[in-house]
């Protein structure tokens, strides 16, 4: 939805589907991905410049600068304490950055409230799943969509407008069921979210984020604590969604997973971007290996 709201980047925008013959949308990682990335300039929905965040005496993010390309699956890696989660928090408005700018589709969003940023189409999930435990899975998913008329007390209460609220609720419920089926959570729909397993909570969190109708999703360690089968399932879903035109920025510690699935990898270390590029390049970067295996963490 927000792709239309950004006139500045519209000309460079590559549509979701393979309408442009030159651009072969990558389904798996192969070498011509970088080729196409070089030949066809892709738009950059998310850009971070010189981001800086201090907590007391500790500088968690120290001038991070990077960009995420439209329709990409970009990995953000780095040792513990590298500032990945803080970067996420600064981008999504959970923390206010001390310096630096965040641009979303050409507009500066630094300092905006988290809910405003979500409305623009930039949505995140959390490292530790934040399920709403005493609400059912279906309620969790139905909470997310924006523009719900019934969020106004008067419209929910007054007889004249209640009918429209209920009609919209019925549509939402339908969409919620579709989303739950997509994530194979439909058998748990009436279960309380607090009763789900760790992996199911991660699925629910992604399902919920998706219901906000985002164009860029920031996933903070979506695979942590998820068993291999479910991890496979989650990855399949992410690839499906990417084919539908969504852009992903992914924090993950599993290097193999990042190298096999992401077309672009950003490495953070001590609050800075150490290196970025295609997985092949990152794999062979001495500094990166040093940061992960040795040096002070």
């Amino acid at each position: 939805m927000s792709e239309d709201d950004a006139p500045g980047v519209a000309d460079a925008d590559i549509p979701d589907d393979v309408d442009v013959p030159e651009d072969v949308e990558p389904e798996t990682m192969d070498s011509d991905v970088e080729e196409s990335a070089k030949t066809v300039p892709r738009s950059v929905p998310l850009r971070v410049e010189g981001l800086r965040k201090e907590f007391g005496g500790i500088t968690a993010v120290d001038g991070a600068t990077f960009a995420v390309e439209e329709g990409s699956l970009t990995g953000l890696i780095g040792p513990n304490g590298a500032g990945k989660s803080t970067t996420f928090n600064c981008i999504t408005g959970v923390h206010e950055a001390d310096a630096g700018d965040v641009y979303f589709r050409g507009e500066e969003i630094s300092g905006e409230q988290p809910h405003d940023i979500v409305e623009r189409g930039l949505v995140r999930t959390f490292q530790i799943a934040r399920q709403l435990g005493e609400m059912t899975v279906l309620e969790n998913v139905m909470l997310a969509p924006g523009g719900q008329q019934g969020e106004s007390i008067t419209r929910s209460v007054l007889p004249g407008t209640r009918g429209r609220v209920v009609a919209q609720e019925r549509e939402l419920r339908e969409k919620a069921w579709e989303t739950l089926e997509f994530f194979e959570l439909d058998h748990l729909a009436t279960e309380y979210a607090g009763n789900l397993s760790g992996g199911q909570r991660k699925l629910l969190e992604l399902a919920r984020a998706l219901m906000t109708d985002p164009s860029v999703l920031l996933l903070d360690e979506p695979f942590a604590g998820v068993n291999p089968t479910l991890e496979e399932k989650l990855l399949d879903r992410i690839h499906d969604l990417r084919e539908q035109g969504l852009t992903f920025l992914l924090v993950e510690h599993d290097m193999d997973l990042i190298m096999q699935n992401c077309e672009h990898v950003i490495v953070m270390h001590q609050g800075r971007v150490l290196d970025e590029g295609p997985p092949e390049r990152i794999k062979n970067n001495e500094e990166v290996i040093e940061a992960y295996l040795g040096g002070e963490v």
């Binding site: 409305e119 995140r124 934040r130 609400m135 309620e139 909470l143 929910s156 609720e169 339908e174 984020a209």
Partner: protein, 444 residues
């Protein structure tokens, strides 16, 4: 065989009991039956039984209203407001100032009652907003401190001699507005003993046939009015709760950061919930204290202990459930305030307990010689104080054993459409939609 038939008989009963309206009706009827039996056993006349049942109903209803108001704040949004008494005081004082006759002392403005009531609700809402705007940015514990402080500031301000020309100071606002029932039935509504209007004449003479006094009729009709207010507030909050609005409030209660990261302006939702709750607390203060059988607008009325009673009632009923709030209010008010004196009278009458020791020691010493009567007499005579100890024990047990509340469910679904069964549109199981439409919570 016989077992299956009993199940067949019980199944529709159980289904009917899942319906919230039935639950509330059963609770009220049970209270009426129990207190009718109390009154009958103690040999009260028609008028006595009526006024006993009326007293219980009135307290149950006003508690229901204010517990519902607290439920939208604490049960739904998780806003820990322990200044309930203060917001009720604002409502009651404001309506008294606006609608009391200008001739009395302290003088009121003499405005029509509907304007006064509206003004009282608005004033409570505004005070709530003033408190909420800075305080809602704080964490729950700090919000609690701010609200209890505001409640005390309000009470002390009304108590202050500096404003006694307007508020009546420590003696309270003695010049209270007349209730709509009095205005309808009496020619001079300010004096309960005055001549009846033509409508009043009909009603009073009808009641007199059953030996019911004019005074009891007025109070009974007022109580029926309070029950109607309770019904309206309940329907209002039930709709507000079972909607996307209520869903966001619950999400804030569960995890505010998660709600924000799904695009909800949580601050806005919290302020609206707080203001709505405070306005309804003002309304409760008006119908409870500004007029009717318990009319008394003094600073002593609005001490913080009333806030804690309301919290206990909400916890008994189950925070997060509107039906539970009504049930909790009714159960609490009848159990704590009206049942103990009845039980005392009945026991004293049945067992002829006449011993009346002056203190606990005098009551305990005769136990050594096997005489339990003094202890029994002591407990019965001090039942007024002891019931609060009992309430405390009940609260501890409830929180430990049934944290979700005795009667309600914190997990009540918040949606404009039923979500309890498989409601998928394309599976042919959608008929479950209709079965769940009455709010049956079969999967609990």
């Amino acid at each position: 065989m016989s077992q299956t038939t009993t199940e067949d008989v019980l199944a529709p009963l159980r289904r009917a009991f899942a319906n919230d309206a039935v639950k509330v009706a059963v609770m009220y009827i049970a209270i009426w039956v129990v207190f009718y039996a109390f009154g009958d056993h103690l040999g009260y006349g028609n008028s006595g039984i009526l006024s006993l049942v009326r007293r219980v109903t009135f307290l149950a209803a006003v508690y229901g209203i204010v517990v519902l108001a607290l439920n939208i704040q604490w049960g739904y949004a998780g806003l820990f407001n322990i200044g309930v008494a203060g917001f009720m005081a604002v409502g009651a004082y404001t309506v008294a100032m606006l609608s009391s006759p200008p001739a009395g002392s302290p003088p009121g403005l003499g405005l029509p009652l509907p304007i006064g009531v509206l003004g009282g609700i608005l004033a409570a809402t505004l005070v709530g907003l003033v408190a909420a705007l800075p305080a809602l940015r704080l964490k729950a514990d700090y919000l609690a401190i701010v609200t209890v402080a505001i409640s005390e500031i309000i009470r002390i301000t009304y108590n202050s001699p500096a404003f006694s020309d307007v508020t009546g100071g420590a003696r309270g606002f003695g010049n209270l507005p007349t209730s709509p029932v009095e205005a309808l039935l009496l020619q001079d509504p300010t004096s309960p003993a005055s001549e009846a209007t033509s409508l009043g004449e009909t009603v009073f003479s009808f009641a007199a046939e059953y030996g019911i006094s004019q005074f009891a009729v007025i109070n009974t009709l007022y109580t029926v009015g309070v029950l109607l207010v309770l019904l309206v507030v309940y329907l209002l909050l039930e709709r507000a709760g079972k909607s996307p609005y209520g869903r966001v409030l619950k999400a804030i209660r569960e995890d505010e950061t998660a709600a924000q990261s799904l695009g909800k302006d949580t601050q806005n939702f919290k302020v609206r919930a707080f203001a709505l709750g405070c306005g309804l607390m003002g309304l409760a203060g008006i119908v409870w204290f500004a007029m009717g059988p318990r009319a008394s607008v003094t600073p002593q009325t609005f001490r913080p202990n009333i806030t804690f009673y309301i919290f206990i009632a909400l916890i008994i009923g189950g925070a997060g459930s509107n039906t539970g709030s009504v049930l909790g209010g009714a159960l609490f008010a009848s159990l704590l305030f009206e049942a103990p004196p009845m039980i005392r009278s009945i026991i004293q009458e049945t067992f002829q307990v006449s011993a009346n020791p002056g203190n606990l020691i005098e009551a305990l010493i005769p136990i050594a010689s096997g005489n339990l009567a003094p202890l029994g007499g002591f407990l019965l005579n001090n039942i007024d104080s002891l019931r609060f100890i009992g309430m405390g024990i009940l609260l501890v047990v409830l929180i430990q054993r049934k944290p979700d509340g005795l009667l309600g469910a914190r997990k009540e679904t918040a949606a404009g459409v039923p979500l309890t069964a498989d409601t998928r549109p394309d599976t042919g199981r959608a008929d479950a939609d209709a079965a769940a439409a009455d709010g049956g919570e079969t999967d609990e």
